[in-house]
Subunit: 363 residues, 4 copies
Amino acid sequence: MGNSLGKRFTITSFGESHGRCVGVIIDGCPAGLAISEQEIQKEVDRRRPGDGPASTSRAEADRVEVLSGIYEGRTTGAPIGLLIWNQDVDSSQYLKERYLPRPGHADFTAYTKYGGFNDFRGGGRFSGRITATFVMAGAVARKLLGTIGVEIVAHTVAIGGIKARAKQVEEVKANAGSNTLRCADPEAAEEMLRAIEKARTEGDSLGGVIECIALNVPAGLGEPVFDTLEGDLSRAMFAIPAVKGVEFGSGFSAAEKRGSESNDPFTIRDGSIVTLTNNAGGILGGISNGMPIIVRVAVKPTPSIAREQETVDMEKMVPATLATRGRHDACIVPRAVPVVEAIMAVTLCDFAIRAGLVPEVII
Amino acid sequence: MGNSLGKRFTITSFGESHGRCVGVIIDGCPAGLAISEQEIQKEVDRRRPGDGPASTSRAEADRVEVLSGIYEGRTTGAPIGLLIWNQDVDSSQYLKERYLPRPGHADFTAYTKYGGFNDFRGGGRFSGRITATFVMAGAVARKLLGTIGVEIVAHTVAIGGIKARAKQVEEVKANAGSNTLRCADPEAAEEMLRAIEKARTEGDSLGGVIECIALNVPAGLGEPVFDTLEGDLSRAMFAIPAVKGVEFGSGFSAAEKRGSESNDPFTIRDGSIVTLTNNAGGILGGISNGMPIIVRVAVKPTPSIAREQETVDMEKMVPATLATRGRHDACIVPRAVPVVEAIMAVTLCDFAIRAGLVPEVII
Amino acid sequence: MGNSLGKRFTITSFGESHGRCVGVIIDGCPAGLAISEQEIQKEVDRRRPGDGPASTSRAEADRVEVLSGIYEGRTTGAPIGLLIWNQDVDSSQYLKERYLPRPGHADFTAYTKYGGFNDFRGGGRFSGRITATFVMAGAVARKLLGTIGVEIVAHTVAIGGIKARAKQVEEVKANAGSNTLRCADPEAAEEMLRAIEKARTEGDSLGGVIECIALNVPAGLGEPVFDTLEGDLSRAMFAIPAVKGVEFGSGFSAAEKRGSESNDPFTIRDGSIVTLTNNAGGILGGISNGMPIIVRVAVKPTPSIAREQETVDMEKMVPATLATRGRHDACIVPRAVPVVEAIMAVTLCDFAIRAGLVPEVII
Amino acid sequence: MGNSLGKRFTITSFGESHGRCVGVIIDGCPAGLAISEQEIQKEVDRRRPGDGPASTSRAEADRVEVLSGIYEGRTTGAPIGLLIWNQDVDSSQYLKERYLPRPGHADFTAYTKYGGFNDFRGGGRFSGRITATFVMAGAVARKLLGTIGVEIVAHTVAIGGIKARAKQVEEVKANAGSNTLRCADPEAAEEMLRAIEKARTEGDSLGGVIECIALNVPAGLGEPVFDTLEGDLSRAMFAIPAVKGVEFGSGFSAAEKRGSESNDPFTIRDGSIVTLTNNAGGILGGISNGMPIIVRVAVKPTPSIAREQETVDMEKMVPATLATRGRHDACIVPRAVPVVEAIMAVTLCDFAIRAGLVPEVII
């Protein structure tokens, strides 16, 4: 259960890391949206491992196939099926260590919840590979949001404690794609790269923080008190493996401020009500206020590390040790950047449709 | 829209700050649960303003009335209706400032979304008062969780940048109720109190951080990939006004750790698999692992402050200034502690029922 | 569970027949809709027992109270709480016969499902009285549908096997309110009345068939393949106690026709595509086609009869007999007519909002 | 929107008649259920056109492929993806008649709702072919229901006004598969066959009625007042193209009975409470009572007929005529029988899981 997201733009994810495929069904996409396999492919390619030190060596073609819902280059109003066949899969290591849960991974909880029947190979449903299904759906959502002018950009703001300096949105948009870490601060990126390389050499891994900004989001999105913009966005972000914290605007640092510092004063600009600052991250009372939506997610270091770790043999119920020998990223943060964008896109799409901002037919 | 929470234990909140009442309907509570009006009242009383410097002077009796769903002292399986009539309401100030949105509040977004038809008095649906409906539902959820041994305790861990020292769970349980700030570190509490008093004197307000711990939660709760325990808990926490960040276990600090530090090694204790540390906050892959669930929420300083602030007149579309003169807390963090517990209880209840851990009839 | 209906216009029903009250929360009603307590009251009054032979002698004031969601005469966008306090309740008979399930009633299934903890007095949640909550919600839905021109009328088309002659819609609208049976064929109504009187005298009861017509429903409502207009309407109709069948357009008689008779030919009228006949009942492929929506529901005879019936004592597990002595209608069909209208209104409202036909703010 | 069914056992259907494939994702199936591709294939084969006069000449292999969610012969708890690639597709006729809606079909409403962007070829999402996705899901549901002893059988009870004589359940189980019409009354089946042959010869089509019986359904399934067993079953049945009516137990004929005839008296048999008759169709107050669940659905004659029919050209907005020349069944009723069973299985599965009758892991 729990593999669908969204109320009016609903995505259903399926597939496993080492199974036949990973895929997603999108239900609720308006008809008439022009979108090509290539556009979706392009987003998926952004999630692929790069050449840098941060990356895994698994070389996947990850070719997107459209199964349904698109005809003559446009969405039909029917469910859109998107699929990637798995390739280059080596499950031998997983078969050997089936009963040795990797610390920090879902191996133990999946085993417990599904009585050992879960497809554990490569982490199964809990693999980072599943986020490719989010990215496919995100590509469609993004195209749809484009029809109402919404833009989304995410970037790496910290890795292993090294923080990027704050940048203006325009700079973020211009620079985030300029390096393999997707960090808008090139100097910090250099330092982060060195830290990742060091961690990798030591058989270890690093986490980080990703910030995502959505621009031109109309005021009025969000459905308090429970279906708030913050609530639904955070819930969706936690679907990304390794995310352990989500904050909006000033977030946790707001807790250290005074009201007079934290409140964003209102003013009028070009005939519209705007705020002078954006500590709220574009959301007041769970509803968008027209300012940029700003969310940050904390990504824990990838739990798969080469160092030996203590675990237990779940079958024999005895202590054991484990050293992950599979192919793994020393830092998954850069690869998670397009995933965070995808989750933002899917969630905003859903809210925009709920609010009646996107018609049933796009012309 | 958006006033219901939960899939199998569903609460629907209604009512406004200065309307006739606030109330909640609970659907999905198993039949046979023994619960009295007094038990629910007791939880609601914990949310009331105290005598300390942190509190508003609005004196509400807040008497809980059971409308339906309980017969002969036990739940019947039918929807449980719970209601508090509003009293002691003075809306004059709000009527005067109807078109002057308070910075940091939902006044502007509510006005925009609902076309000015929203009941703005006292913040209407966006008032902290609405959390009384969460607490009523939480009291029932808590009682139900008690039947499977789950315990929940929350406490203030920071106010205005002053941090409580880390305490063992037992100490938290023992001390959290010992002071008006619900802080398990009495020395920090003293300091926090002084900071609040200072802020109040200066017409300002303070935020803080609340930690909530759930004990004895069975392994296996959570429904990845989207209905994760973290995701649903965070979504629900953002229903609490002023919450701007949510993290689990090490949370944002995990982003600064290495995998070897962050991973919780497994071991066997009393025949069960446990982890030696709990950086995961009791959740791996979105599923509970049997360790204590640990969540922290960042509460921004209450936006209602006595200081003059810049705003706009939404009707005349001209700049304006505003100084909140209503009765307000200089720091709402302590009053939010039982609300955080209630949200935790409602969410865990829902997951426990989904997982089949709670039967349709309690005997 | 199961006490909410609708995805974007959601009603949550609560309360019991002999408890404190019955009520409903409406979530998702757009802001700005002008509606008064009196308008809701008027619909509720239509459901009240009349003076005719068909009716119960329970004399309830059934005064509607607005708890929330309406301010200055207009909906605010917040949940609308509506409540009727119960009065004139005599539960003594029910207390005596607590363990004797009435044949044809929900007493046995409720006892089984809720382990005997259900509030059985007067049928509790399973009483026809609960439909007053549907009618309150229906009054709001109807007002909202009025803003897009949709009209709804239901009428009795059969009672105890006596069938009303088919009438044109205009005649139905004109005549359905002219007699206590809400039958548009006055002659059939006379005959029905005699049949009801006869059944009552013999300690028995009669069922019947209600037809409901919705006019001016725009083409395009319905969300195949599962959330069809027929599917969602029928599901909602089965919430009315005693309904055992639902059909659209030609319904069951379509099964006896040939395709050439059953298909409705298309033609152009006033620049729009219409059908020459309406065997489809206004729905093709689960989507409205712009013709009148026509649904008929089969209402079984009210199970509460004065005649002695065989049952069992659920506590002692021995055979028993039972003769209902409470106040009961010999035929509930006429009182169910406004309930069917309410269910139609609520369901169409939900679809209209889903399709973006009703804005978030009514001006 | 609307392509998912079920709350805890959720199926999401996708694909089009003349697109690449039809498929279904099942979310919420417990882990550990042993099921093979062959078992699913077997159910799908039952839906295929037979050799009789009732059938289309489209010869599809319809080979089921498992995409995900099954590992080592057992369900894993992850979403189960099932797919059939389309073959033998000739869309030329549809391309020619793109703007000529077939009377009785969804062509017009789909065109209207989706602005002409819908994949109209072969009816697209509105084709009977989509029911293959229900049957795949039904095969899994059925296997799961088998673990708690529930059995399901459907049969043709009427075609073109020719009614099968009532049969005992055991006879239905024994005979329903003995002829191509899936009719338990062989004599009536003969007559039906002749009627179908006659209709086909005359370029026409016939409808009919299917009855479905579920045995050994435990008492207590159903969630009143809105999520009743009748309501959810009927809603799901209307997803089958051409269904225009649904009734339970005595159904519409109950409306002609008296309470004393319609009520099912309770008695005790083998220590359990049962009813002497089953006019209720196994459902009281929306909850199963332990007796067989009995539902009947009215299937209108297939709208695709060879006879010339009046329609309009939607592009040119002028009258037109149309004679369906594609391959079509003269009577789809027999092929719909396994589809009705599948819908029953999926719905009961969902209720059984909601009620906690099926554990998260099957051992």
